[in-house]
Symmetry: C2
Subunit: 467 residues, 2 copies
């Protein structure tokens, strides 16, 4: 899986382009093996493919200059944030420049009275929340990884809080974007709503760097809730856990987070995070609101859990308890991979209408029980979205084949239920065939837009669909 690791030099880059980029960026342009390696690898099962060079931009103006130079030389550009995407989204399949925006870390403005802020693309979500805390505000979108805001916009990230606060689609008010023809545009003003022209903001969100390079993001913020409670509850059956969530959503309980972890995932979490939860299907909850409103939510949810075969409903208002819980949840991927030292993870996700969720998870679970590889289930069940992590030995092609077949059946199942092949990971390299199956001729319309905006196919080529 690391076949190209030994490619030593940037053979493909035109000398003129290299000279111009060095003149523009100085030491922030490099063809060093370590930098190329860091920008060609990924945290999951995709083959490492190296960029010819790495360019670190610090301003939108530099991004414009890089885009113009690369266009002149027909050289691909792959935007890079934290490198935490999981569908091969930042793999430079055609070489070229990996354009690293992680130095663009300025928080440009916080408008507390408007509940919004504008940040550079390289700001990470933890940095932002650190900055916002003493203003009583927070940015809720939390995909687990400490991703960059630009990367989260590019992949339409969501995560644990989406059930209450939405995804990046809802969180972004406006973007500053450099287009393939080198234009520096803002997609929208800062007003909360607008009917002014095509929704370029949403077109860019989830386009995975294929239509534009996001350099600044204006985000909606929320007030830190008066009370935050967390809770954990184990269930005798997987159905009981899923039904609890579906019923809570249908009753309108405004759950802030609700995560499912199956018995395999709980075993992994206990081992990795040195915890002692029962190794059964478990729900992790978070509730936000006023004291009475949160108490109401907790009581109603506890009642539903009990009616569905839940064990003790352990809830707490203590930040230590809460942090312990969510740290364990955020490390679930590493915990899963940690089940088999030397192995790699192949995370996948689907999302279905909430009424089909219990059925979809139950069928998937039965399928996974026949597998020879560990494959824990976890997910954001309040959205109808769940994940499986296949933990495979990279030296055993039969395991990759098995994961591929399990994944295919899981996606087919979700599509048959009017669901989607990816709730939040994006298409990248891994889900391209499924995108065609899911949306058919609509993908041709995406191609029309891509060809019109990026006629030389230079922005993250080979991603989302083949041209």
């Amino acid at each position: 899986m690391t076949a190209l690791l030994d490619t030593p030099t940037a053979a493909a880059l035109p000398a003129d382009l290299e000279r111009a980029l060095r003149a523009l960026l100085g030491e922030r342009f490099t063809t060093a093996a370590a930098a190329r390696q860091a920008h060609g690898q990924n945290e999951t099962h995709f083959e490492t493919l190296l960029p010819d060079a790495v360019a670190y931009a610090r301003t939108t103006e530099e991004v414009v200059a890089i885009v113009n130079l690369c266009r002149e030389h027909k050289t691909p550009i792959v935007p890079f944030g934290a490198g935490t995407s999981v569908e091969g989204n930042i793999t430079p399949v055609r070489g070229g420049i990996s354009l690293d925006l992680s130095d663009m870390t300025r928080i440009l403005s916080v408008n507390a009275e408007d509940f919004d802020c504008t940040v550079e693309a390289g700001v990470r979500r933890e940095q932002l929340n650190e900055h916002l805390r003493d203003k009583g505000l927070f940015f809720p979108i939390d995909p687990g990884a400490n991703a960059t805001i630009g990367g989260m916009a590019a992949t339409r990230a969501s995560g644990t809080n989406a059930v209450r606060y939405g995804t990046m689609r809802e969180a972004v008010l406006s973007l500053r974007v450099v287009t393939p023809d080198g234009k520096d545009i803002r997609t929208s003003r800062r007003a909360r709503k607008s009917a002014a022209g095509y929704d370029l903001t949403r077109l860019m969100i989830g386009s995975e760097g294929t239509l534009g390079i996001i350099t600044e993001v204006t985000l909606r913020l929320h007030g830190i809730p008066e009370v935050i409670s967390s809770a954990v509850c184990s269930f005798e059956t997987l159905d009981g856990a899923v039904d609890t969530v579906v019923q809570a959503i249908q009753l309108g309980i405004p759950l802030a987070r609700v995560e499912i972890l199956d018995d395999v995932q709980m075993r992994a979490v206990n081992r990795w995070s040195k915890l002692d939860y029962p190794e059964q299907t478990t729900l992790f909850f978070e509730f936000h609101g006023s004291e009475t409103h949160v108490a109401d939510q907790v009581a109603m949810t506890a009642e539903l859990a009990a009616a569905n075969g839940g064990g003790a409903f352990k809830w707490s208002n203590l930040p230590e308890e809460r942090n312990r819980l969510w740290k364990a949840r955020h490390e679930a991927y590493y915990a899963a991979v940690g089940l088999r030292p030397g192995c790699v993870g192949w995370p996948t996700d689907v999302c279905v209408p909430i009424g089909r969720l219990a059925e979809c998870i139950a069928q998937t679970k039965r399928d996974l029980e026949t597998a020879s590889i560990p494959a824990p289930i976890l997910g954001h069940v309040g959205d109808g979205n769940f994940h499986v992590v296949f933990v495979i030995d990279p030296n055993k092609p039969e395991e990759e084949a098995e994961a591929r077949a399990l994944n295919a059946r899981m996606v087919e199942r979700a599509l048959a239920m009017d669901g989607t092949c990816t709730g939040e990971h994006g298409i990248g390299l891994g889900k391209q065939d499924w995108l065609e199956r899911e949306l058919g001729e609509a993908v041709d319309l995406m191609r029309t837009i891509k060809r019109a905006m990026d006629p030389h196919d230079l922005f993250n080529p080979g991603k989302v669909f083949s041209l």
Copy 2:
């Protein structure tokens, strides 16, 4: 303003096309003067321009056939729903076919457990809510007019409930669309969230029929709240009213609706709806939730109103009271126009970040006080969005000029505050220059998309921007 009313025949339509459309649609294709008139006029100040013919489609397959025939003959198509848009959005500026979808009124499915439904484009929002009522569900987006769901999606409508439930951008899960090349696509599956490819759903929403003809819409629904309270409160000053709303939003009170009506508008409402409200700046509220939660919201809001110079805070849980209030609000436009018999309304809207709203409304009010024409202010203040209706005599060009100047200053003011030239009416014919001022080169990107998707410029040509 009705210069073309007397154009009697469909001179511009190729005979072959006319024959083919008659063969396809029978009596549902017409060149009769009355039908053309009904599809060429508008409720506001835009000139009536007639289509060459009107085609009434009943199925997506018919829409595909019409689109293919019109493309062969390079004949424009303007989709038409209820004709309630206010920026000249459905005016057939280049003639052609007005494609009326108002016969497509089937509610195709309601998935109560998933809180969604799929309807044909011609379903009107009141029909839908009637249908949903006994399932305990409702569709919250309410622009006042009993618009079609397809038209609401095409113009990215919002209205009184948007402060709590969002706009059509948030309400639509998926669309069935016929593209200019005659493809019948679905933009998304029914899952609540997805990261699968470009967001074609959002690209179509607000594109005003220039990129595709929406034939079916899948919508998010909400449970009918346990308790609905309405309230009305008059204020000594306009600032006091706006500050009350801004503070309520900042405190996180989940207002379901909050509307401002200034003294001029209240006078118009009293006269039109035979009511006796104080003729002062007034807020209309609605609160949704459990009994205790609504009581909390009412108490907190009443306290804020009192602190900002509000008079008696008259609230009620009675549906009669509520219906009386919102009927008066929904008729506000007609009430405004009714201030001057024989005159027409020129409604306009802007939206600014909430922290600038008080300033923006106050400056606008001062400007309007110098005007020679009545110009009431009303709006969805919780979103930072407000409207002015200029009531002008169509026979006095100086009044149109005055309205144009007042409108220009209002939009300039909103743009200077990082706001938008339209919060919810769309661009249509009326706001095209302002779109350029607002978004600059981003409009070129919209043109690139339009040209790629509709190379012959046949779908609602001349709208949103000039090519």
